[in-house]
Amino acid sequence: MLFLQLLANGLQVGAIYALTAAGFSLIFGSTKIFHFAHGATFAIAAYLFHFALAGMGLHWTFAVAVAAISAVVFGVLLDRFMYAPIQRHEGSFFTVFVASFGIGIVVQNLLGSLFGRGFMSVATPLSNSVEVMPGLYLSPLNGLAIVCAIICFAALHFFLTRTFVGKALRALSENPELVRMFGLSPRRLSTYAFALGSLLVVPGAIFTAAGTGINPAVGHHVMLISLAATIVGGIGSLRGAACAGLMIGVAENLAMWKLGTQWSEAITFAILFFFIIFKPSGFFGRATVS
């Protein structure tokens, strides 16, 4: 029964990881910008959801809208006013990374100053587990997270395969020059990528605020998982990042079935090293020759 319990926990955690990793992968794959502040977007969405719900007393649907709008606005503003100028001045990949890293730290401290540095969580009965079978406890949040992830991925798939902007985004990740030749603006597409990628962290941020609780440093862990999932899934592959995120969440939890609890986090990096050594192109990435 412990195995089933850990598997159920892993699926919930994995669903959240998959969404955040897909967001990072979409941005990185399309724009080649190492958006380290993706974790900061997650933290902003979580804190503003909490603030709107608990601080302002808004209905949860409005709180979700506040979180979504704040995440999208933050992502788009970063793209427009930080990454775009750096790229215009032909800043290196490393310059972009350092700038993004710095923004992550600034956001962490700002959230700490505005909302306090302590732990916060959304009080909801949805996070309380009930015994569905002897020894197996599930909370409504478990199911909601998984259902929400499935819906989000279905919508994302539809958007990327059936809409003009979605197809353009995929083209941008393949060949930016070709996109220009077709008269499209890579800069504008980059903004779409940031908006969509930032939107994808919102469900994870909300479920984290309600389930595990948040603190200003919550984005670091999200960023590490997103990065690992992007590499394991194959850089540029949304499907790969989503599968890898799910796999990491499940593996983190199942590791506790036979191993000590301290191995839970290490398993993420064990998987990462395994892929770097034996399959550097990841799950769905394509091998390249330099």
Partner: protein
């Protein structure tokens, strides 16, 4: 020419004022977490230290104003050493307040080498009592706290099976060692221990493991935001066993957390209603300034600064320089100190001996605890 004269005057005024500040102020240092996930502790510690400095200055205990130079450790040993280096080698302070077991252990070598007194009021690892004569503790250490709680849980509540969830650092290790040593002698057992990384935030898997062991007591040895996340996720995931911890639970976050209702924890025993003048003044002024009751952490850092003020006052009366070595010699020469909580004395190893109390979180959200039992 006029410009040169004016700038020379301005420079001279600047030098004079800087010199007068240095001549009048008596500075001590503090290495506290001021940022990161444990920054909430820094705010708590500072409120106690600042109040003691204010009282010392109001009373004119020293020849100049007592000032505390705060440096950020982020509760990390490496950052703590950087902060300590600055305080000792740049600022030249003779006395430094320290917090957290890992940080305290990391800075103790520098304290010993530079003959700077380091005083811990927050870390509780038992080995903090053995870090040399320049390292003092104004807080009972984990061996006292764990022993008191285990004895209460076993003898008074009849609990026999314990599970430990501990952060993988010197503090967590020391609590694991204490439980392994203490429980068998009480006729109880540690059925399983779960080590977690200091950065971990996801504990639903740990909760599943804990539940599968069916313990009577889950002892949580963590701190900061993490301990609140552990408590919430244990309860959310169906763990109904008694939750227990040490003095890290005496923070507002835990006191106001619904899921922590009924959790037991230990602190040193302080009678907040005491008529003893030091305690009464501390409690009254703290309540007036902050509108709430103080906690043992706040009292500890008040006491740490007050110990300095008392020792430095005697040194100044004897026309001795306020150095780490002289502070140490004077502490050894002083039998008792009038501190918050009453008259106390240091043990040979520089650690204050204080009775322990077991408290229970009442879970009303008002931030109150329920006094359960005091032990010697």
């Amino acid at each position: 020419m006029l410009r040169k004269i004016l700038s020379s005057i301005a420079f001279a005024i600047g030098l004079f004022s800087a010199a007068s500040v240095q001549a009048n102020d008596i500075e001590i240092g503090a290495v506290f977490p001021l940022s990161g996930p444990n920054a909430t502790y820094g705010d708590i510690f500072m409120s106690g230290a600042d109040l003691a400095a204010k009282h010392a200055n109001d009373d004119g205990m020293l020849s100049g104003d007592l000032k505390i130079l705060y440096e950020d450790s982020q509760a990390l040993p490496q950052q703590g050493v950087v902060a300590m280096n600055k305080l000792v080698n740049v600022e030249g302070v003779p006395y430094v307040l320290s917090a957290f077991t890992g940080v305290s252990k990391a800075i103790s070598t520098l304290a010993q080498r530079s003959r700077t007194v380091a005083v811990n009021g927050g870390g509780v690892g038992p080995d903090l009592a053995e870090l040399g004569e320049y390292f003092w503790n104004v807080i009972p250490l984990a061996n006292n706290e764990v022993g008191a709680l285990a004895a209460y849980a076993v003898n008074d509540l009849g609990h026999k099976r314990f599970t430990l969830v501990y952060v993988d650092d010197p503090l967590g290790e020391s609590i694991l060692n204490e439980l392994e040593k203490t429980l068998p002698s009480l006729g109880a057992e540690l059925v399983e221990s779960h080590s977690i990384a200091a950065s971990a935030q996801q504990f639903s898997g740990v909760a599943a493991r804990v539940r599968s062991n069916n313990p009577d007591v889950v002892y949580v040895a963590s701190y900061g935001s993490q301990q609140l996340q552990i408590v919430k996720q244990l309860r959310d995931n169906g763990v109904k066993a008694q939750i227990a911890s040490y003095s890290a639970f005496s923070v507002p976050g835990i006191q106001q957390q619904e899921e922590a209702q009924g959790a037991l924890f230990t602190t040193q025993s302080i009678d907040w209603d005491s008529e003893d003048p030091v305690t009464k003044r501390f409690v009254d002024d703290y309540q007036a300034m902050h509108g709430k009751n103080p906690t043992s952490y706040i009292a500890n850092y008040y006491n740490a600064v007050r110990v300095f003020a008392l020792l430095a006052q005697v040194l100044e009366e004897q026309d001795k320089e306020i150095t780490g070595a002289n502070l140490l010699a004077q502490r050894k020469a002083t039998d008792t100190f009038e501190l918050v909580g009453g008259e106390v004395s240091f043990q040979e190893n520089g650690t204050l001996l204080a009775p322990i109390q077991v408290l229970e979180v009442d879970g009303s959200g008002s931030g109150k605890t329920v006094f359960v039992k005091a032990t010697e």
